[in-house]
Structures are given as C-alpha cells and as structure tokens.
C-alpha cells in the first residue's frame, strides 16, 4: 500500500484536533485589562498544546515522507497515535476549567507521553513495512530526540507530583528541542 490515504486521513484528523482545542479556551468575563490576567496562563497552555500537536504532525510528515509503503499494522499504529492525539483537546479543556494544578500537569504529561510512545510504535511498524535501505531505516539508525523526549516526559510526570511548574518547564524545553529542524532527515528525504 502506498502512503497517500493514510496521510490524508491523518491530516484531516490532526487538523480537527488542532483546531477544536480553541473551543476549550474561556473568554474574559469583563471588558478591562484586568479581566485578561487570569487567562494568560490558559492561553499559554493552549499555545503549548497547539505547538505540540503541530510538532507531532510535522514528525508524522517526515516519517511518512521517508516511507515508501505502509502495512496493516502501520495503519493500526497510526490510528492508535491519532487516538492519543485526540486526548489533547480533552486535557486542554481540563486545564481550562481547573487551571495549572498538579493533576492537570500530570495529565498533560501522560497524554504527551502516550503520543510520543505511539509515534515510536508507528516508526517500528513503518520500519517493518519498508526495506532496510529505505530512507526511514537510515533515519531511524541514530535517532536521539525520541529517547530524550520519552525520558524527559517520564521525569516531568514524576516531578509534577511535587513541582508542577518544573514539569511545565520540561514540556516547553522538549517542544523547543523539536523546533530545531532535523537537517539530516530532510537530506535523506531529498535524496530519496
């Protein structure tokens, strides 16, 4: 199977996920500047979630560009990945209602950990579906960002029990790490 329909289905689902998160944001209650003060934290949480979903999409885009074929297991792994992503608007809504608390910060970390793990599972199924000399196989050989991300989320979830803000700082750092483009992977895709 080629990758076209898996890509367009994923694009559709991710597009809805990234967009409906805004419905969870409350609007200021009054007209003055003071009414904005309690909202900026929620706005920042929204912006971070938007960035995270964008990063997951971008990763998916790169992984699938490096793949020539998909398999049945890859479709299922992709669906599982999408399921984890659909929990992002849910956790954003919780943050919107309860604010940045220990439990919401932990939930945010758990959802992102699930997204990262399911994305790694998708890579495994893609590796099986493609030849050992395909771009994805070459790109997967020395991945460092994946394991770093998983460890960072595990640490952050642990820290959130005592210091939720430390966990938030780790979430932001992980996002910044992914913003740096992967030149090596882009080169592999150009060569492909």
């Amino acid at each position: 199977m080629n990758t076209n329909r898996l890509n367009s289905f994923t694009d559709g689902v991710v597009a809805i996920i990234i967009t409906i998160m805004v419905l969870a944001l409350p609007v200021p209650t009054g007209g003055g500047m003071k009414a904005l003060a309690p909202l900026w934290v929620l706005f920042a949480a929204y912006a971070l979630s938007f960035l995270k979903v964008g990063i997951y999409w971008s990763q998916h885009h790169h992984m699938l560009l490096a793949s020539r074929r998909v398999s049945g297991p890859a479709l299922l792994a992709n669906l599982f990945f999408l399921f984890c992503l659909t929990l992002m608007p849910f956790v954003v809504r919780w943050i919107g209602e309860a604010g940045i608390t220990r439990d919401t910060v932990i939930a945010f970390g758990v959802v992102n950990l699930c997204c990262t793990l399911s994305s790694a599972l998708l890579v495994l199924t893609l590796l099986r579906a493609n030849d050992s000399d395909s771009p994805i196989a070459k790109a997967a050989r020395n991945r460092i960002k994946g394991p770093v991300t998983i460890s960072a989320y595990v640490v952050a979830i642990g820290l959130a029990f005592a210091w939720p803000l430390a966990a938030v700082a780790i979430y932001v750092l992980v996002a910044l790490m992914w913003l740096v483009p992967d030149k090596r992977l882009e080169q592999l895709i150009v060569d492909a």
């Binding site: 991710v14 597009a15 990234i18 409906i20 805004v22 609007v27 200021p28 007209g31």
Partner: protein, 189 residues
C-alpha cells in the same frame, strides 16, 4: 519536500476553523426585531472573520501554486499562521459575550496583525527555500499589499481604544483590498 501534505493539512485546519466559527453565533433571545438587531453585530463579526479566513486560504492557495518544494522552516511559518487563524473563533465568542467594545475589538486587531505578520514570514521562508529568482519570489514582489494591510491593522488596533466601530471599519477596508484576487500569482502561473 513537496508541498502536498502541507497544503492538505492547511486545508484541513482552515476548513475546521471556518466551520466551527458558526458555533459561536447566538440565536435572538426572542422572535422580535429588537432581539434580531441585538445579534446583528455578532453576525457581522462572524461574516468579517469568515471573509478574512477565506482570504488567507485563497492567498495561500495562489501562493502555493507556484511553489515546488518546502522545508522545515516553511512548515513552522505555516504552523504559526494557522495558530493565529485558530484564534478567530475565540475572538468571535468574546465579541458575542462582551459586545463590540474596546477589548475584544482590540484583540481582534492584535490577531489580525500577528496573522498578517506570520503570512509575511511564510512568504520569506518560501522565497528562502525556492530562491530569489523563483516564480514565488517574482510573484510576491514588493509586498505592498501585505505591508499596507499590516499598517492598517495596527492603526485599527489603536483605534479600538477610541472608537471600536472605527477599528471594524478599517478591518473591513483591508478585507476589501484583498477581496480582489491576487493577480500576481495568476499571471506567473
């Protein structure tokens, strides 16, 4: 990388944004002309936002026609544009709750300024990726319209603190400027 998936993703996001905005509209409280008149400003803001999102999609569509490849920087610039566009439904809801008043109208202006700035960044990223002699670079040209709208949005934002309706008039004026299709790309294609 080819721009296919970037386009498909952008189309999906914009399609959802332009559709969920209608959920923020309110029905008249009772079946009377007075109640209908009370919801008209909200309907106007909805129409303005719908047109604005439509204009961004149109211009994105035209610009991407002449683009052969994209890179990581383009993906991020595009995502930034989508982020600012995604806030329009929220701003409509705010106008729905607070009415046409300074804060929501000023916030609307801030979002318009940032979206147009992100669009300028996207143009730069595309030109950096495709080269100064590419079709997209020639078609984008001097970006007079982009900077003009950027300036009018900034003025519109400031005007909200004196007269919110004046800001809305400026936002509508920019929409009219862009309503004329972007011939630059049609000529190059």
């Amino acid at each position: 990388m080819k721009p296919d998936r970037l386009n498909a993703f952008t189309d999906g996001v914009i399609a959802v944004i332009i559709t969920i905005m209608v959920l923020e509209l309110k029905l008249p409280a009772e079946p009377s002309w007075q109640a209908v008149r009370a919801v008209l400003p909200l309907l106007g803001i909805y129409a303005l936002s719908f047109v604005n999102i439509g204009i961004y999609w149109n211009n994105h569509h035209h610009m991407m026609q002449s683009v052969r490849r994209v890179d990581g920087r383009v993906l991020w610039a595009n995502l930034l544009l989508l982020f600012w566009l995604s806030l329009f439904p929220l701003l409509i809801r705010w106008v729905g709750e607070a009415g046409v008043s300074t804060m929501p109208v000023a916030a609307f202006g801030v979002d318009l300024v940032l979206a147009s700035f992100a669009y300028l960044l996207l143009e730069r990223a595309l030109i950096a990726c495709e080269g100064e002699r590419s079709t997209v670079a020639k078609a984008v040209g001097s970006r007079t319209k982009e900077w003009l709208s950027f300036g009018l949005y900034v003025i519109g934002f400031g005007a909200a603190f004196a007269e919110p309706w004046l800001s809305l008039a400026l936002y509508v004026a920019v929409a009219i400027i862009w309503f004329v299709p972007d011939r630059r790309f049609e000529q190059q294609a």
